[in-house]
Symmetry: C2
Subunit: 377 residues, 2 copies
């Protein structure tokens, strides 16, 4: 449920058009929750989740480090007050000139998952630390990962050895268990693979230091999810099991888990209609859709809580769609969404837990609609 | 194949980063092609396909009318020199205050597909012309439409009668056969339904005037498609068959068919890698992806021709992905794409026929990447 501060903002400011409001108090609570639950783990906030300057500044002040996907994100983290040693260039797909720019800005920690990327880094950022991302199967995640990132364990060993040979510091292993991961076993399986790489490289005289546990810590949307303390406990157990008493340095990269539940979007019902009198479901059209910031409804992956002023009334399933002339701009159809039968044109709705992956995903001007506005309070 | 003017632009200007270049000569040829093939049909360019001011100005000068999805698109068409009588507010999902703004700007033609929308228009834009969109099944289209737009024939009759009762001008019927439609029969089926509505309303003393044939005229991507003259002939035949000698006024709304083949995107190969030595396919990562303008690769719907300087070399299938840290940012995977085996990091590629639905779809700043740049020459 959105915080009172967010509700008050909407009630008093009455901003025109769809907009996101993020409550910094929640972001602070989330950061401190991670820090308390995993005191020995460095937190690298995934800037891509929401790069609002106020969020980055708050987290920089709290001592967070930053996982970045591009040179502009590195620059945003620096502007927010992070020193370069607190920035990871976590994208495994980088242009050589962007690697050089990051190096010039002082960044010293880079993600890789291929020999070709190692070679670029060796040329453009000599001597820096690299960690290699391994593939996971994403089982149990709500937004499972494709095979786009990471490589096999065997190849990861080759990649890190190549880094070593080229004068880079083979620093560690990373993985990502998939977004909204609620299955502890996924971390255990990935940590087992990471430990195998540590041993294998160790036998060849290369001492790895770090395991990047990635993100995937779930935000609560409609279903309850285990809290961060449960994850911390499960991860601690797995680290002990697979690394014995040589526990590596660890880092995490929460994005959604840091800001997802800190924001809510106010939207408006533009139309409620049926296609034929005999239709079972109404169509409810909002002034925000897939191309206005709710890209994570693709394949109905993320199911946001939607709150209305009529939630006490009887509810019935409906299809929810966005305002553009694009027929793919439908949010929930395969699994219809229960909304009050009294919902009507002009009603405001609150799309809750929408602090992550909304503002920056919005299209720049599709159908002439402006990108999602954002306020941080 | 991209025009020599586009190739020359890339060769001499060497713009940094991914960008689209649109050749106005091709847009002009396409407009004149439609005008010649369908001399009795008014052309309403679908502004959402590409709202670049130079394109809108050219089309306004050539005499085109404009199909718009929002008040900003109406304003862009007016700025380009279109008079309000040449503008249709073609989105069936409109806020009442946007209807009022359009009315204040002089727009007199509105799309509807529900009673609720008719009631909004009657309040905010009294006396204007409305046309009702009917559902089609989208069979034969490469980017088939959902049920998001349109209503049943029975409901369309009610919607238009309601418009009449509320003092609006019940003006006609529209449909959209689905994008990249290559099946003439789809137009025939829709025209049969439209004629039924004309007869039914006529029996109740309401004389409809216009059939909006929508868009869907295909641009040629990889496979050859029938030319616009073939469509014109098929539509003419169907109009005669269903409307006899009371042929209605007709309009078309080409978007992709007007600008799709007029533009090409230059992109760069950022990484070529395998996940394991045993992998069958390489992954080729470009500096543009789903969130940088190629949203129409969703579900691999649109398959762009991709040209390289190494196209004489042996080719092999690969997976093509974008540059963001989003694992959904994969362009072609289910059906792998043949590219030269010699393709390597730093190579430029040309994504052809990319003039439609690219620039405005691009996300505003996802992963910190800037939206797709665009040049019109």
């Amino acid at each position: 449920m959105a915080t009172q501060r967010i509700l008050d903002f909407f009630a008093t400011r009455r901003p025109e058009g769809p907009c996101l409001v993020v409550d910094l108090d929640v972001v602070r609570d989330n950061y401190l929750g991670f820090a308390r639950a995993m005191p020995d783990t460095r937190i690298f906030y995934a800037v891509k989740a929401n790069p609002a300057p106020e969020i980055l500044s708050l987290l920089a002040d709290l001592g967070s480090s930053f996982d970045t996907a591009s040179v502009p994100e590195i620059e945003m983290a620096l502007t927010a007050g992070a020193t370069p040693d607190r920035i990871s260039y976590g994208n495994t797909i980088k242009k050589e000139r962007d690697i050089a720019r990051a190096y010039a800005l002082g960044v010293d920690l880079f993600a890789v998952d291929s020999i070709a990327e190692v070679e670029k880094i060796a040329r453009a950022a000599p001597g820096v630390r690299v960690f290699c991302r391994i593939l996971t199967d994403g089982k149990g995640a709500e937004w499972p990962l494709s095979r786009k990132f990471g490589c096999s364990v065997v190849m990861a060993e080759e990649v890190l050895m190549r880094a070593h040979v080229l004068g880079l510091k083979a620093y560690g292993v990373s993985f990502h268990v998939g977004s909204q991961q609620t299955r502890f076993k996924s971390w255990d399986e990935a940590l087992k693979q990471a430990a195998q790489i540590f041993r294998s490289l160790g036998e060849r005289g290369i001492a790895l230091s770090m395991v990047n546990l990635g993100g995937g810590f779930p935000a609560r949307y409609l279903k309850p999810v285990p809290g961060v303390r449960n994850y911390a406990q499960a991860i601690r157990t797995s680290l002990g099991k697979h690394f014995g008493n040589a526990i590596p340095e660890t880092i995490i990269e929460p994005g959604r888990g840091m800001v997802g539940d800190a924001g809510a979007i106010k939207a408006e019902v533009v139309l409620v209609a049926k296609k034929d009198e005999s239709d079972r479901h109404r169509w409810v059209y909002l002034d925000i859709g897939k191309f206005g910031g709710l890209a994570e409804t693709l394949e109905e992956a993320i199911r946001y809580p939607i709150l209305t002023d009529r939630d006490g009334d009887e509810k019935a399933p409906c299809v929810i769609a966005g305002p553009t002339c694009d027929s793919a701009d439908v949010l929930y159809e395969k699994t219809a969404y229960d909304l009050p039968v009294t919902l009507t044109v002009g009603d405001e709705v609150l799309i809750d837990k929408a602090g992550a992956y909304t503002t920056t995903y919005a299209s720049v001007a599709f159908n002439g609609f402006a990108p999602l506005k954002s306020y941080v309070i």
